[in-house]
């Protein structure tokens, strides 16, 4: 990064933020030449891209790091060659055909989908009542209870994975699929609690009160009044949980068996064994599915709402 911003008044500790048209602050030499004009037009007319070369350069670099490697995955997936080289040799769909016919991938895809759906449903089924208890239950130590239910987010997932592998699979002899389901559910619960909790905090309690006052029992009031108000939160939580569970590596890593394997871990193992573009093809298919999910999410709740609440 350049250190060339000599004109701007130095603020302690800050490197430069060159703005392209440095002004000498005290003198303002151009003031006399064009007197009664505002220094710049009103805000909406401000051109956002001009005059911030350092910020813009850094921003472009950031986008390149985030996006370009993904484009390379797609490009290599269509190669006609046999290895992961760039530029791809010829154009073909051969690796897509191989990927969708490769049993370890398809089997793992089914397992991963089952796991993600079940873990999400269970996490919501047990997480939403927890949210209700926290926000409506008037329990002592509310913050502590909430913190406890959010705690799976702080402990490294790899550590939790090791714990479940050692204690539940080896210690108690649980099947790895059961262990995965328990672990994923415990890990997804914070999403349910936090995201639906944010919805519940915004929901007006007087609506519930009105329903109760008009004679609805607590159960009926919950299903007809509270639950509909929670819908955006539940949708966001479900989407986040599903995606997080489906993509998870660290927690699932040690909890694999020959019969029940998850897709990301299977792909990781495959990359380690052979250096061919089949993983690129599978990755491209996942990318397409993720784009579909993202578009649905943006259309229904909006990205910012979903990730504003919680993110991983």
């Amino acid at each position: 990064m350049s250190q060339t911003d000599s004109q701007a008044p130095a603020l302690p500790g800050g490197p430069d933020q060159t703005d392209g048209q440095p002004r000498a602050l005290p003198g303002r030499p151009d003031q006399s030449s064009r007197p009664a004009r505002p220094r710049r037009p009103a805000r909406p007319a401000r051109a956002p891209r001009t005059g911030k070369p350092v910020a813009s350069t850094l921003a472009v670099a950031g986008y390149v790091v985030m996006i370009v490697p993904i484009l390379f995955v797609v490009a290599t997936a269509f190669t006609g060659g046999r290895t992961l080289t760039f530029p791809p040799q010829g154009l073909s769909l051969q690796w897509f055909e191989k990927a969708v016919a490769y049993e370890p991938f398809t089997g793992a895809l089914v397992s991963s989908l089952q796991l993600a759906v079940l873990a999400t449903l269970i996490a919501l089924a047990v997480g939403v009542p927890v949210t209700l208890a926290i926000h409506r239950g008037r329990l002592p130590g509310r913050g502590l209870i909430e913190g406890m239910f959010l705690s799976p987010l702080i402990v490294p997932e790899l550590v939790v994975g090791l714990a479940l592998y050692q204690q539940l699979m080896i210690g108690f002899g649980l099947a790895n699929s059961t262990t995965l389901l328990i672990g994923h559910t415990a890990l997804m619960m914070p999403y349910a609690v936090r995201v639906t909790g944010a919805s519940l905090a915004l929901a007006d309690p007087s609506l519930e009160e009105a329903a109760r006052g008009l004679g609805a029992g607590p159960v009926r009031a919950f299903f007809t009044v509270t639950l509909p108000m929670l819908r955006p939160g539940i949708f966001s939580a479900a989407l986040l949980s599903f995606v997080t569970s489906f993509n998870n590596v660290p927690l699932s890593l040690l909890l694999q068996s020959r019969d029940f394997r998850t897709l990301p871990v299977t792909m990781l193992d495959y990359v380690q064994q052979s250096y061919d573009p089949m993983v690129a093809a599978m990755a491209t298919l996942i990318l397409v599915a993720t784009v579909v999910v993202a578009v649905v999410a943006e259309r229904t709740v909006g990205f910012a709402q979903i990730f504003g609440g919680i993110n991983k």
């Binding site: 992961l84 080289t85 047990v126 239950g137 239910f149 790899l158 993509n247 993202a294 919680i310």
Partner: protein
């Protein structure tokens, strides 16, 4: 497309209960008058009901997380607590282990700095932009969070590999005779982790910058401050809580990430996470695994705790 609406919930996930509690104070706590009889009318009527509602979740939390984690950390099978503690002591003195810890922390710090340096400008430009493209660019910055880490990291194999794009390009330009070793280096890990955690940094910074009234920028500019002075004197200090959160999230993520160090660092650039896997799956050294897990967990807790202290100090000032 209209600019993305303000998030409903407090900005980003906060990696520490204290932090979470602090944030919940802002949005999480419903502001409602405390009529003595009011709770009678809500869906959860009694404390007993509330406890019943907590039970199933609590069961999953205990069985699927708390009890196994504690048991693994303090008493792995066939290993005493003392042995784990001794192993931690060994790790903190052994040069090989220290190098792994140093690499993990060092790369974590580098990635954190890079993510803030790249992410904050993106957040700033997006939050202050009036262009209709800004919501598309924001979506593009958030989208990678939905995408599998394996898919995202895999891209770097294609870019950095010996047959990869950069190597071919350098050779093609005649700059080097042979593609340089880029994969399985610390640089590769930093690039991979930056790609992974930049979206997190952007979101945290974005919600912080968006909360800084753009009118303050205008006021500073109107009073004669340069753009850079406005940026460093107004925008950065006022959005510093978001920067702290971003840094914490990125650091905690970086020192615990597995996929990226595994694929891009290999066995030559061991980090705590890959070492942990090796102990628990290759050598089956439970004491070593627990000790590594303990070091990793303490590292994350300490950093989150520090961040929450900083946040609290900032809040009381």
């Amino acid at each position: 497309m209209r600019p993305v609406a303000q998030p409903v919930a407090p900005p980003p996930r906060l990696p520490c209960p204290a932090l979470v509690g602090a944030a919940a104070g802002v949005v999480g706590a419903p502001v409602r008058p405390s009529y003595p009889d009011r709770h009678e009318r809500l869906v959860v009527t009694t404390r007993k009901t509330a406890l019943l509602l907590l039970l199933p979740g609590l069961a999953f939390l205990l069985v699927g997380f708390l009890v196994p984690s504690l048991a693994m950390l303090v008493a792995p099978p066939g290993v005493g607590t003392g042995e784990v503690v001794a192993r931690v002591g060994q790790m903190l003195t052994d040069p090989y282990d220290l190098r792994i810890i140093g690499r993990t922390v060092g790369l974590g710090l580098v990635v954190t700095v890079v993510c803030i340096v790249l992410g904050f400008p993106i957040a700033y430009l997006l939050a202050r932009s009036t262009s209709r493209w800004s919501s598309v660019l924001l979506a593009l910055a958030i989208f990678p969070l939905l995408l599998s880490n394996v898919v995202r990291t895999f891209g770097w194999l294609v870019v950095l590999g010996s047959q990869g794009a950069i190597g071919k390009l350098l050779v093609g330009l005649g700059l080097v005779d042979r593609a340089p070793q880029l994969l399985y280096t610390e640089l590769a890990i930093v690039l991979g982790l930056t790609q992974l955690f930049l979206p997190l940094a952007i979101i945290s910074c974005y919600s912080a910058v968006a909360q800084v009234d753009a009118g303050l920028d205008d006021a500073a500019r109107g009073l004669g401050a340069s753009r850079s002075r406005t940026f460093w004197g107004i925008v950065v200090p006022l959005s510093s809580p978001g920067i702290v959160v971003a840094a914490t999230l990125v650091f905690a993520g970086s020192v615990t990430a597995y996929t990226t160090p595994y694929l891009l660092g290999g066995s030559s650039q061991r980090m705590l996470s890959t070492q942990l896997f090796s102990y628990s799956s290759v050598t089956i050294d439970w004491a070593g695994a627990s000790a590594t897990a303990l070091v990793m967990t303490v590292l994350v807790f300490v950093v989150s705790g520090l961040a929450s202290l900083v946040a609290r100090k900032g809040a009381t000032q």
